[in-house]
């Protein structure tokens, strides 16, 4: 027998005194992906709102794309949960028999409401485009575009004004809802008082800020990549502005992440003793080395330099996707360190376990890769229906200011 105890495909190496019911990491890879995907959704929606609500005109080229991007990821946000829990057919019970005292059951309603809102905002923003495509196409596409334009081809000034009013209403409630969607995910962890790594009121805030960061980074990364591969022109001004917003949100995100650890350290309660052993024990590499030193400090400096100094377009377009990708990895590592990390310490407050995810199996690495590829495929399919880029002559939408 090696010094490892195997449990259901995962391997836990035990050190010090670990309660037998703390051996197994129950919330594994799928629960790492769930806040990661919802975070990207919330962040992408905020990029779109920066143009549609706050009138940041430089972000116009990605204003529509970020909504479709958010929808593609939102469509897959529940998959990790369904895979983790099993019995997807029972998920509707959550909606049929609502439980107001269950924090977890709340996700069914928050997610559904946000999904409905996002779809409607997209349909109202795209209505003029849908009407144009409806009139141009034939067969099934004609029926589809007619349906997506609510079978109303009226694009008179009154109709456009009405649409704008609806869009402003939806965007207005959309921002707090996007914040609630992800703040809620942070609350789910922050509300678990038995776990000193999670139980902090800062948790919803850190989750929300990292969501904004991952959404903006995802948009910048995919925008540049798609434009490069399809040989289209990249709006560098838009990339520069996005980089500035990314830096701004990342300053807040990174500072709060560090403040959370520092507060524990300064208060020096018995929780710190547990967390210290965890952060300098099984989490040392994934937290200090990867999340903090490599994927936070380096992008932090690069983003600052890119935002503060004037560089040639070539330099921006070279560093922007790299730094965005690093930020995407940082947020994934943060989810890992919070979700899995919180389960690597025993309630004995003495022992730790280590966790290695399985490759195959329902919650394995292979399924995780599939789930992360699925939104890209969905985005590709959606791009065939909804033109991703604002067409200069067809655009008759204006930011609502």
């Amino acid at each position: 027998m090696s010094a490892l105890a195997a449990h259901g495909g995962t391997v836990a190496a035990l050190s010090n005194y670990v309660f037998p019911n703390d051996w197994h990491v129950h919330w594994s890879l799928m629960i790492v992906l769930y806040p990661y995907i919802t975070g990207i959704v919330a962040g992408a929606f905020i990029v779109s709102s920066l143009y549609h609500v706050f009138g940041i005109k430089q972000l116009e080229p990605i204003s529509r794309y970020s909504l479709i991007f958010a929808l593609a990821f939102l469509a897959c946000a529940t998959w990790p949960l369904l895979l983790h829990l099993g019995h997807p057919e029972r998920s509707y019970s959550m909606l049929i028999t609502p439980n107001p005292t269950s924090a977890m059951a709340g996700f069914g309603f928050i997610y559904s409401a946000y999904f409905i809102l996002l779809v409607h905002e997209i349909l109202f923003i795209y209505r003029p485009t849908m009407v144009t495509l409806w009139k141009q196409s034939t067969g099934f596409k004609r029926w589809l575009y007619g349906f997506l334009a609510f079978n109303n081809d009226n694009l008179s000034p009154e109709a456009i004004r009405l649409d704008h009013r609806i869009i402003s209403f939806l965007a207005g409630i959309g921002i707090p809802m996007a914040c609630i969607l992800h703040g809620y995910v942070g609350f789910i962890f922050g509300g678990i008082k038995a776990n000193p790594l999670w139980a902090t009121p800062l948790m919803p805030l850190i989750f929300l800020l990292s969501a904004c960061v991952s959404g903006i980074a995802g948009i910048i990364f995919s925008y540049i990549l798609i434009k490069k591969f399809t040989g289209q022109e990249i709006d560098v001004d838009c990339v520069r502005t996005s980089i500035k917003f990314l830096w701004g949100f990342f300053i807040l995100d990174f500072v709060f992440e560090m403040l959370e650890v520092f507060t524990h350290f300064y208060m020096n309660t018995h929780h710190w003793h547990v967390l210290e052993n965890l952060l300098w024990g099984p989490l040392y590499n994934t937290y200090w080395l990867y999340q903090v030193k490599i994927f936070s400090v380096i992008p932090f400096i690069v983003l600052g330099v890119l935002s503060l100094f004037k560089f040639k377009d070539r330099v921006i377009l070279f560093f922007a996707p790299i730094v965005s990708f690093m930020i995407l990895i940082q947020v994934l590592l943060m989810r890992w360190n919070v979700v899995v990390g919180g389960q690597l310490m025993s309630h004995s407050t003495r022992g730790q376990v280590t966790f290695v995810p399985e490759w195959l199996g329902r919650e394995g690495i292979l399924v995780a890769i599939f789930i992360m590829i699925a939104p890209v495929v969905i985005l590709f399919i959606l791009s065939k229906i909804f033109p991703l880029w604002v067409n200069k002559e067809a655009a008759n939408e204006q930011p609502i200011t």
Binding site: M1, N154, P157, A159, G351
Partner: protein
Amino acid sequence: MHSESKTKYYSHLVKLIIAMIVLGVAGFFARQLFSPESMGEYGHYRGADIEDQKNVPVRLQTNESCFQCHKPVRRIHKKGVHKSVSCEVCHGPYADHVKDGKKIGMLPVKKGKEITHLCLRCHNKVIQARPRTSIKMVGMPEHLQEKKVRIENTCDQCHMVHDPLLWINQAKEMIGIKEEM
């Protein structure tokens, strides 16, 4: 194109509101239809589930159920240091062996290396969370080397599994060793 349109400028909003009302009403009826009948009878769960849980067949029993037939083992087991270990921990669930007072099948008998694996489930030194004082923890093959026996020996060659110290103490008595194990 704008002036050509025959539809009212607000018709899409009206359609949407109608669709939402229709879906809302459909949802209300769907809830009535799909909600379990006894939902909320005692609390936020299906009342009939209590009956379902009561009807789940009992698979595990106590040691006394086994001892009703296995009398010789009873004598040994109850005296030894394994007296608090349930028979089913090693032999498997009672329900696979007896149903309605009749024997319906044999429980699997562990042999050779399987026995060592079974013992190490509780006695393996790598299980850090075990209380060291009440359970003898051993490492393999160090334990065999320390006791100067063949490395391929299985636990049951020296230890009587129902009373692990029975033969050891008997042997010690025979050769006159007084010290504790």
